[in-house]
Subunit: 406 residues, 3 copies
């Protein structure tokens, strides 16, 4: 790892190491760097490994430990974040799918388009980029210019595509920002050609990870894009009596199953055998700059995990309550997105699908933070209260036509 020698001021501030660059035949199987080695800051380390054996064979992972918060980025699975840890608190969830699954073991088309679920166990996984949401038929134009019915598979392709470019960057100057950068291309001839460029960054001893994404349309023509961040939490943040704190503007249950639970939509219960998922669609209030924050708080308000983002970038928010038994995946998903995870055709009708012109770019950023101790949790609750400013949310008791196919 060497400090950049480029003339640009920007690059001189960083030391960087390319781990994968398919275009230029660069691939580093195993690599480590630490504060000691670089003499920059202290207590942090970054390591890259290739896994072997079983369903994880040939999966690349990058582990970043900022001294307090550690997390595992998975280049082979679309630069998702597998799991993390902060102050002894586990970040992520305990999926029935225990190991990282190489995309080559996933057939998205399996079981009516639900194959995505065979590899679903990340803390943070992107859904998209050409489409996300429930499997459904969509009409697309084929190479001959004809309209064809095609099956869009659950949550799209991006989480099962490997990054073609992966690098590590460490800031030479305080606060020594450090992170993993990656490029994942979702592309095909005669179809979408969307390039995701992501930086997953933190600073030493911080309680926060920032995910800084840009999606670019590389096609010569205007095309569609959908992006949703499926951020999933189990214990210890999720527990009986835990709740979602957020500046709700309007909330509606997705379907009849969710409608049954709408009165306590933001409160979570014990693991419940046979619980059928309840999904709530919502819009959030934001501050004058468009920033908002949502937070999962445990029952005694000593542990919380928050997401901060802009409603200009991610205007729709989905809450996935899946408080099933531990064996079935006791989990809630906090899901800011460019739309709701309905079939794409419905989202298109409702103008919740992004359109990008040639070379058009879409930026989305999320900060994922952890708050431990009553004081820190209360501080974050106060921030959300300030965004809310006393506005009472509209909570529909039944699914609404604007949000759901009902």
């Amino acid at each position: 790892m060497v400090a950049s020698t480029k003339a640009s001021g920007l690059d001189e501030r960083f030391s960087e190491k390319i781990l994968t660059d398919v275009e230029n035949n660069v691939y580093v199987e195993r690599w480590d760097v630490s504060s000691n080695e670089l003499g920059l800051g202290q207590g942090w380390r970054i390591g890259k490994r290739r896994l072997y054996g079983g369903v994880s064979d040939s999966v690349d992972i990058v582990t970043v430990d900022n001294g307090c918060l550690s997390f595992v980025v998975v280049p082979t699975r679309g630069m998702g974040i597998w799991k993390g840890e902060y102050g002894g608190a586990f970040l992520g969830w305990d999926s029935p799918v225990k190991n990282l699954v190489h995309p080559h073991h996933i057939t998205l088309e399996a079981r009516g388009g639900l194959g995505w679920l065979d590899g679903f166990n990340e803390w943070v996984v992107r859904c998209g980029l050409s489409s996300f949401g429930a499997p459904a038929i969509d009409i697309v134009r084929d190479n001959q210019g004809r309209e064809q019915n095609v099956m869009l598979t659950l949550h799209g392709r991006i989480a099962n595509l490997p990054a073609n470019l992966v690098k590590i960057r460490v800031g030479l100057r305080p606060p020594h920002e450090m992170g993993v950068e990656g490029t994942v291309c979702e592309r095909t001839m005669f179809g979408s050609n969307l390039k995701l460029t992501t930086s997953v960054v933190t600073t030493p001893e911080s309680n926060t990870i920032e995910v800084l994404d840009t999606v670019e349309n590389l096609r010569g023509i205007r095309d569609e894009m959908q992006l949703l961040y499926h951020c999933n939490y189990g214990s210890p943040f999720l527990e009986d009596g835990g709740r979602l704190v957020a500046p709700f503007r309007c909330v509606a249950p997705r379907d009849a199953a969710a409608a049954k639970g709408v009165d306590s939509f933001n409160v979570f219960g014990l693991p419940t055998k046979g619980f059928v998922e309840q999904v709530f669609f919502m819009e959030l209030l934001a501050d004058s700059k468009g920033r908002t924050k949502v937070m999962l708080v445990n029952s005694d308000e000593t542990k919380a995990a928050s997401l901060s983002f802009s409603v200009k970038q991610l205007p729709y928010f989905t809450l996935w309550k899946n408080t099933a038994s531990k064996d079935e995946g006791y989990v809630v998903g906090l899901e800011p997105g460019t739309g709701f995870p309905n079939p794409k055709r419905f989202e298109r009708e409702k103008n919740r699908v992004v359109k990008l012109g040639p070379a058009g770019r879409y930026r989305a950023e999320i900060a994922l933070s952890v708050h431990l101790g009553k004081d820190d949790v209360q501080k974050a609750i106060d921030e959300i209260d300030e965004i809310r400013g006393g506005t009472k949310p509209t909570v529909a008791k039944e699914p609404i036509r604007e949000f759901s196919q009902v």
Copy 2:
């Protein structure tokens, strides 16, 4: 490889070596052990390799040679047994699919759900675990609790899933039992979560391999399971005039094609160009403990391959006669299972699908033996005769409603 130092008496009796443990980042690419090296018994050896190139790239195999009988276990393909050899006699068959095919080259959904056939060349391959049998539509409950039609693919997923845990065990005390243990998980979020734990064991100079399997339902709820052992033999056990010796209780042809051959259902002919498979469904008699034995015997009764198992564990037996030309796969399959390889919906109707509660386990064991020489073969025939005890089988001339969709 070190002898276990655990306090447990069980473990002190074995020396073991972990070859793959995805959970704990253990993976051994190449490894060998032998009687000489360990000073235990003589003439046996075990070796582990990773294959490279072509369709077999990245496939792991473990070869066990007990001094007389050798066989190849394939962790990458669900712990199936590729092929074996005993006293110069080949165990397995000559499939049109010549090499071990890595699951990543298999799309089970291909050609209407027949993709499984693209990798089918094992001596012993498990079908299951969530379903086996002909591709067909089934109704399953999805994440939203709705009933969905999904395509179940031929013979299910288990043969194309890699083991996440693989170890070798050798008994420190005579008879120095040795074998390969593996764990394969067939699981998805919102779907089945079945863990297969298998031991494939033998003892030095034995003519027998034992396959000792346990399938556990890791879901929090009751779920279904199907398991069938597709044990396939070609030359030299299969030949013109060879036959299946077994304590038949009742036998029925699967369909019209099989009905044509029902009068000689247990006798095999020469390789026949254009032969269309004939499948017979049957129930077998057993001894007072439920043990039974079936055996493929060559024409002059000097070579035989038998399966011993319990009808309590595997109550239904399927005979697959596929005496097509050598190029097409001249083979018979002896298939003890929890049901018949019909579409799962039909098997469910007939109560031939296993249901396992949370943490419920299902055990199944098969002993695969080889008998060479007239005396040994006759001894095994006598054993089967004793089980039969003079009972005459019921042989239906046409498919019956209890067994077949007719």
Copy 3:
């Protein structure tokens, strides 16, 4: 690499190196040879690499440089030719799919059978072998002898199957022919079993690559075969005012979109945003031995790329005009084949599907040449003129029933 020591005169003339032989557990990850090293000829080199990272992870490539012309053969992708270069001119095209994609990232069944397009970026890619052409339903006979509707996916399987045998051969005597040989098997139980054996050869300082293929039916029964060479060119051979020079006998547009462009079917325009592909089906004139030649010539006739082949082997020729914007893939495909890339059922009706008996073989050869400079280009034009011999082509203004489903 050692000169053959076999008694056969044929083998004594070659030095050979086996790089992959799955049957015999041979795999060479990295290997190089050159004229200097062997002391044979001068200026040439051959190198073999395994790629790592991203979508190209575990892809094997062999680069042959004859001193003037270099090209990259991809054993992992059916022995296709990724790209080449001759005298500074790039051979191939700039696909939206930028990197070599390992077949395990391709699901041919995706998006209604268009998954093949996710990996499509080769200069020369074979379509076939059991079927090629547009995705469509076909009726095939299954293991039970029943007719089943199955989806045939775009352009078949061969381009996404790895070679099980790969070797390098260099002639010991002038002209020191050198090349890559490979065997790719497209096979399944109860289905097609077609073995492609290919040699991709050149000689030092030549402007030509020869692709010498044999497809053999390994089934015990008569079976079908389809083979088409999708040879794709972008800049610098394709440009505004470039044209296809060929001894056309009859030409017809595939469909209405092509009919619009039929008056200038053999002339190419600038990259055009939103251009919908135009496909022309044709038959070509040939010399007395059946040899013909087609050539893509740039606008000032200083650069040309030609294909020479026999109309006895490849009687049907398809021109794929896809002069879309650079970002969408500005490309023309020259496609000699055993038929046209229509749905297979239609081709079967028109007797354009090859039938091979057991052990039946089909040979097909193509010479790919580059012509730089007005003189060389003119010489090749003259050759084509001689084949044409003054015959005027029949050009249908509308699709014709013999060629198209209209």
